[in-house]
Symmetry: D2
Subunit: 163 residues, 4 copies
């Protein structure tokens, strides 16, 4: 019986800036080094970069794909889970990690942040959404300036807590 | 062959203020009067009030429930669809309506707004989330001050477009 | 507060025989006459015929579609719920009705029968799957010879029990 | 860039016989030896035994859980994916592997077999369901007498084909 592996969900856009690619790749590398499994949406952009970084460090990557065709996953997935569930699979990504790290991202990422916070997951954000509810309360995202800081937040606090 | 019915999704918190209850009930009434079917998460608060209003006007209400037990739905549902899918059912609610109207709401509502915008649905908001992405761009929500205005936005623009 | 409507799920193939079309249409008609709401997968074949019959009798029809495009639904749906969830939406169809009626059908129908029985729904079958588990136990399907008998099983037993 | 790992889905009852436990454990072991990743429903019985066998051989195991609580997974999961989706998660299990191996099983297993066949996955069965459609056609399951034969079917045919 192996200990359950630590899992971090990485969310962010399939389209993203070069800067975000670098951050995501470093993030994947740092988590892979720590033997943390990466779960993501399995597509390009931030997701692909994070997987590439994780595999460089010997880590394992899992992509929860929106469609049924596993070949749509990026080339750096160890395991592709083809859900065929479209956007409803966003909930699975948000729930899979003991912590969720968001890099930039669009509306899909916003929906994943919503689900993650709804179920009490820690969310770490690098240059991602800000949101304010009707009463003026900000969403609870731990803001990190770079990959190293994000990993510290994730491994220090969230993973020890939610494992 | 009947014409396909117009459907509006109403989202918002199971816990909400008395003011929000009033708005939601009026909203449901106005939509029911127009023979628009209400889809919601089927629980209490904003959802229950909207259904109560819709039924008073002779409208039909559908609740897409998170659990498997249909009796968890509020008493003003004509049809309960017990998904047993938890938060992943939020995507179904966001997708069901030709337009989505948000009243207040918490993290679940935020996730539904994210999905709705992701798939290009018009979102009308009454006292609900504001959100800004990394580049400073605000989410595209049509802001309404009251139920009547929300219905005008929904029926005037969205329903004619997305039907 | 209206009483919750009775709901029956009708499952069966998008491709089917002319005989099955006739049975499905009569089934829909008989249920619609009784003010029972029909839930189905929203596509052609058995599903379309059942919806057509139900609408002829003034009934309401709901299609839980596999894709995101509501226009893929058959023309006899009052409400289309576009899930974008592919085959995972089969569970929703099996769960939606207080009783499930299967007419013929292929592997998708078999999966729906499995889910329905798993959660304890009564399943009525007209010319549909037989299955035997490892111990030689047959699946529990009430076999009907025609639409009228299927409705008697459904309304007599199942709906009064599971409402 | 690592090569995508081969994945086999193992399905079967949470309640099962001692014989099935032995078969499942050997099956997991043989697949783990070949570096094949096991995906299953993450619970007890057949699922737990298969995971235990796989981990003994150094393999990696993934459980796609019905609920949101990862601690409900069996102790031999490397990764728990808590879906909160209930029975709708059966589709994900059936789709995840390039091949599906069924050992015994109840209605949930029957639903997974239905989905797997619907999307064209090879299904290998050891003492599991038989089913016949309305026209008398048997479902297409490759029947194996023991774990070793099941693995030969799975690795010889299915994995080379569907990878």
């Amino acid at each position: 019986m192996n200990p359950r592996r630590r899992v971090v969900s990485i969310i962010g856009g399939a389209e993203c800036s070069e800067k975000e690619v670098q951050i995501a790749e470093e993030l994947g590398y740092l988590l892979g080094e720590q033997d943390v499994i990466i779960v993501c949406g399995g597509r390009g952009g931030v997701m692909e970069a994070a997987c590439r970084g994780a595999q460089r460090a010997g880590g394992i990557t899992i992509g929860i794909l929106p469609n049924l065709d596993p070949s749509e996953g990026n080339p750096y997935l160890d395991v592709a889970i083809p859900t065929g569930m479209g956007h409803a699979r966003n909930a699975l990504i948000a729930q899979a990690g003991q912590c969720v790290i968001a890099i930039g991202g669009g509306y899909g990422t916003l929906s994943e942040i919503g689900i993650a916070l709804k179920i009490g997951r820690d969310v770490v954000g690098i240059g991602t959404w800000e949101a304010v509810d009707k009463s003026g309360k900000m969403i609870k995202i731990m803001r990190a300036d770079n990959a190293r800081e994000a990993v510290e937040f994730a491994l220090g606090d969230s993973l020890s807590k939610n494992q």
